[in-house]
Amino acid sequence: MDPEQVDEFVMGYLKKKGFNSAAKHLQESLHNNNGSSFSSIDYPNDPELTKLIRSFSQSENDPSRYREGYSKLRSWGYNSLDLYKHELLRVMYPVFIHCYMDLVGKGHTQEARSFFNSFRKDHEMVHLRDLQKLGGVLAPSHLQEMEFARSLRQSKINIKICQYSYDLLIQYLHRTESTLMLGIINEHINFQVYSGQPNSASDDIEAVTIVGSFHETADHVNQKEIHWGLLEDSLEDRLEKTGGLLSDSEKGQGESKAGDDSKKRSAEIGKQGSSTKKLKKDKAGTATTKVARQETSTVLSSMPRVKPELAMPVMSTDVEESILEDLRNRVQLSSVAMPSVSFYTFVNTHNGLNSSSISHDGSLVAGGFSDSSIKVWDMAKIGQAGSCALQDDNNQIVGKNGRRNYTLLVGHSGPVYSATFSPPGDYVLSSSADTTIRLWSTKLNANLVCYKGHNHTVWDAQFSPFGHYFASCSHDRTARIWSMDRMQPLRMMAGHLSDVDCVQWHPNCNYIATGSSDKTVRLWDVQTGECVRIFIGHRSMVLSLAMSPDGRYMASGDEDGTIMMWDLSTARCITPLMGHNSCVWTLSYSGEGSLLASGSADCTVKLWDVSSSTKLTKAEEKNGNSNRLRSIRTFPTKSTPVHALRFSRRNLLFAAGAVSKHSS
């Protein structure tokens, strides 16, 4: 290579990159020296360097290089050895999207579009939602504007890959001199190389993870300590102490046991978050010696206890008594003892029912409608009227004596997206597109408070398990904690990258979980407002959340019909529950946590056996056999998507949904 040529290359490169002053200086020095300024470098003898310089000098703006480079890499990947193929193909998606974004960023809209359409089929299976989003990006300004694109640009993708695959890839890139691809891979992919044989294709849930400005923090966040134990002196505890158990001997045993345990636990609260090993031992020791019924209660009581971080409302003795009575009469459910399911079907909703919920005892049903109204039915009354309904259809249209048989709550000025009951059923909390949350009294049938604070549509609002406090989440990407007596929110949780779509309280009231359109679920400390867990794994918008009664697990359902069961302490997914093929609108744990019920847009209620997992995972996690969770029953409805599910305290399952016309 001639020295002059090198100078030309350098000049061209500097100009192209916009280093005009440097170019000018170079020009001047070239004139002054009248010779090459780079003669000190021994470039002719360094072929690598020559190659590199050459590649820089190529017109970088040629958009077809992306297509060429990618399609070469792609065909190489698909033709590679089967053993390493799946690992090598993991590289394709990041390279693909970054090629596309590079092209868009450089203004080659047309090429970008054709490149995208040519290869999108390869990735649609897994990344359909992202591709739909990215497909709309057509101008450099869009890249800046769209958060998703921006975060992709800023973050790196972690790919686990075995040593040999890695070597293969690097060799290929060098051999074919595809510097462009190499550049993209270097810039956006972070390889985690491990020695040994490549992993099987199936367990690649964690093989590809996105890290970056926010994702990097996820790991860090998930290290934080959380106390998922139930509250001290919870009603379950009190039930045991007051002799809820059957025989006297059992009672005494249980009492002493519970007493001992809770004392022990309260001393250990501080360490509990990180050290669960001790707990396992304890549980294993106690659980094996007990009979089934005893077992569940001792398991509960052997769980760690925590102090409430919020000032808890005082429960009236009446309410307490009735709850205790319910707990005493609770039916024990398991995979062989199934619950009864009572289904409330909304008819004539005219496509206007946005949400529905059922009170704890199933006596009240509320619906939030798109015409801004909330309707509350008292099922005790309907039960009588319902029989008449079938007898004379004509009268039923108007209801008895022309009176409608529900309570109409009017006040919102936008579609109502949630309407939920307080635990005793005396209040209804509703949230709406008019950015407000309203509190209604079911006794007075009137609006009590209108809470303003969110800047956008409030998607969901949920009372805490003990009432008084409630949490809300909104399109403005925040979740907020409120108390009934304050007009302003107490805490504001910000961090989600997209709408916060659903919110759920932890049974001990110290945490809330939020599910978002950014496909993550987060757990927040109510006292500090900090994010303490980020659960990554869903592939689409998270629609529903449920917490296990022992506070250890969480289930979340998404738009694709996947349900994920999470261990709160490790932030790991125990196993995805596959079975639904459409949106999972609602999830509910049975009273003692052995069953999980899920309701979906595919018009089914499914029951999942989750007790086996909670008991066995610890032992089986090591054996790699974590697929213990299984669907044990599917109840199809006629053509009613299931909007809401609720296990009563006595373990009767209530379900609600609106008949959808198109399938009938």
């Binding site: 809209t109 579009r113 054709s114 739909q132 989003k133 497909g135 709309g136 057509l138 101008a139 869009h142 062989v336 003892a337 199934m338 619950p339 009864s340 009572s342 289904f343 409330y344 079907t345 909304f346 008819v347 004539n348 496509n351 029912l353 946005n354 949400s355 049903v365 409608f369 798109s370 039915w377 099922m379 309907i382 319902g386 309904a389 079938l390 007898q391 039923q396 249209i397 108007v398 048989n405 529900y406 936008g414 549509t457 399109h475 779509d501 359109s517 918008m541 738009e559 949106c583 847009a601 018009c603 029951l607 029953r633 109840f635 199809p636 409805t637 006629k638 998507p641 909007h643 609106a658």
Partner: protein, 548 residues
């Protein structure tokens, strides 16, 4: 090849931008600007749709509506687009002369029509209906629940439970408990059947009976109800008719297993077919009821004939006894004939035609207007005569159809003279197959073959059947069809084309007909003797031409 068809920058064509610009009053938009705007428009539209999908999800729906788009615009603090309700899909029409131009199909509404139109019904108010989706994990078979796959047999259930290990829960036999909903449903249906006052509602009830799942527990109640009411209400024509409709709906319902109750059902049905008196008024058209029931009987035999081998034989026995008993009323004879006719032509040939001559001689005095002064009686006699004629005609029609098709004057065939000559050979082969089949008529008698569309073996075997529409379409009921006029035509057509091959075939068929041990030819002659020209319309034109 991937590059092809990708010229467009955006899925929004530049023309669209220009049209929109014009519509908002910008006339001087340069093409470059339009081209630049197109990708941005696409991006914004995608953005809105993404938000709209969010709104859809939060409205717990899986179909996007116009209101979701309004919601999305609202989220973006944009003015919603007015005028698009969520009523139904918007219909687009293609603009004539333009390839890609569409417009919404807005009907012009006359103010007068709007003003004069009656007020629409108030929309039904939202209600909640409650039912058990499952009771202790088992879905009850009630109409509110989705149909169960199979009503599981108890044996299977036990095996399943044993597999489960030590946890066998033995269920004691429980009293048959009907849910309240089912009871109400039954009451309602019974009322509707009895009341006769609301035919439209009754029709809907029938549809529900024929399609709803979860009705199985009610079947014994319905069969009882039908049996009781038929025996009690023989004078009530409408009631009987309603009851038969209920029977038919029950038979149609795919979720009901009615076989175990057939024995209870059949007597009532047969009663409605051959009872002396059905209804007490002159105006009651009991003939229709008998026709309807005859079809019902045939339906039952067809569906359950295989599982209950004796079903049809017992039925035919009853019917023949009714027919051959001269003491029975003519109305009963009519019912019997219709019932037998509905069971297919083999039944007719064996049981009716064999007794045709003596029966007709009995009937003759009744038919004669001079001898039978009672007009009512005479009318009945003519009805019976008509039914007999129809049965015989159908029978002979079907018999003749067995024989290989003769070239008919169908235009499609006329055009292809070549193909037809070739056709003759397979015809011959078919002939032998058919005749061998004909020798075992008893076998086919049990396997019911109806004239109403059942897959009879002959029809399946015939490859040329499809090419011969005129023959198949000669429906006996439309016997007035001018088949007499067709006959000479077809003859002409044949003579024009008369080739050697065809003459041979025709001869062969003719031979076959006369040799046939079933005496098709003689049968025809006999029928002709008995009925005179009245039988002729039933005979397919081409076959007719053979005999003429």
């Amino acid at each position: 090849e991937l590059w092809k068809g990708e010229e467009k920058m955006s899925i929004v064509p530049k023309e669209t931008i220009e049209v929109i610009a014009q519509s908002i009053g910008i006339t001087n938009l340069s093409p470059e600007a339009a081209l630049m705007l197109a990708p941005d428009v696409e991006y914004r539209v995608r953005e809105i749709m993404q938000e709209a999908i969010k709104c859809m999800r939060h409205s717990k729906r899986t179909t996007l509506t116009a209101s979701d788009v309004d919601g999305a615009l609202n989220l973006r603090n944009l003015e919603p687009i007015y005028g698009f309700g969520s009523g139904g899909p918007i219909r687009f029409r293609k603009a004539i002369g333009h390839r890609d131009l569409f417009y919404t199909d807005d009907r012009e509404v006359d103010f007068k029509d709007v003003i004069e139109a009656p007020l629409p019904k108030a929309p039904l108010d939202t209600e909640i209906v409650c039912h058990w989706l499952a009771i202790e994990g088992v879905q009850p078979a009630i109409p509110e629940n989705a149909p169960l796959e199979v009503i599981r047999a108890p044996a299977e259930n036990q095996i399943y439970q044993q597999k489960d290990g030590p946890l066998i829960d033995i269920r004691l036999p429980v009293k048959h408990v009907l849910s309240k909903e089912l009871q109400l449903y039954f009451q309602k249906i019974a009322e509707l059947t009895m009341s006769k006052s609301n035919p439209s509602l009754f029709k809907e009830a029938l549809v529900s009976l024929a399609s709803d799942s979860g009705l199985h527990p009610l079947v014994p109640y319905f069969t009882n109800f039908i049996a009781d009411e038929v025996s009690r209400g023989l004078n009530d024509f409408l009631l009987l008719f309603n009851l038969m409709h209920v029977v038919r709906s029950l038979l149609q319902n795919p979720h009901i297993h009615i076989e175990p109750y057939l024995h209870q059902l059949m007597p009532s049905v047969v009663t409605c077919l051959v009872s002396r008196k059905l209804g007490n008024r002159f105006a009651d058209n009991h003939w229709d009821l008998r026709d309807f029931t005859a079809n019902l009987v045939a339906l039952i035999c067809k569906r359950f004939g295989n599982t209950y081998v004796t079903l049809q034989s017992r039925l035919t026995k009853t019917l023949v006894n009714a027919l051959l008993d001269p003491k029975k009323a003519l109305t009963q004879h009519y019912g019997a004939i219709q019932g037998l006719a509905a069971l297919g032509h083999n039944v007719v040939r064996l049981l009716v035609l064999s007794n045709l001559e003596p029966y007709l001689s009995l009937l003759e005095p009744e038919l004669d207007a001079e001898k039978q002064k009672n007009q009512m009686k005479s009318y009945e006699a003519w009805r019976v005569y008509g039914a007999l004629l129809r049965a015989a005609g159908l029978c002979i029609h079907d018999r003749l159809k067995i024989f290989p098709n003769l070239p008919s004057p169908s235009p499609s065939l006329l055009n292809k003279g070549k193909g037809k000559v070739i056709n003759t050979e397979p015809n011959k082969r078919k002939l032998s197959v058919d005749s061998s089949e004909n020798r075992s008529p008893r076998k086919r008698l049990i396997a019911t073959d109806g004239s109403d569309g059942g897959p009879s073996p002959m029809q399946v075997d015939r490859p040329t059947g499809d090419a011969n529409p005129p023959q198949n379409s000669v429906h006996p009921s439309s016997s007035e069809q001018a088949s007499g006029g067709n006959a000479p035509e077809s003859r002409n057509a044949k003579e024009n084309q008369g080739s050697k091959g065809r003459t041979i075939t025709r001869k062969a068929i003719l031979d076959q007909i006369w040799k046939d041990d079933l005496d098709s030819g003689r049968l025809l002659v006999k029928l002709h003797q008995l009925y005179g020209d009245r039988i002729l319309p039933f005979i397919p034109s081409t076959e007719m031409s053979l005999f003429l």
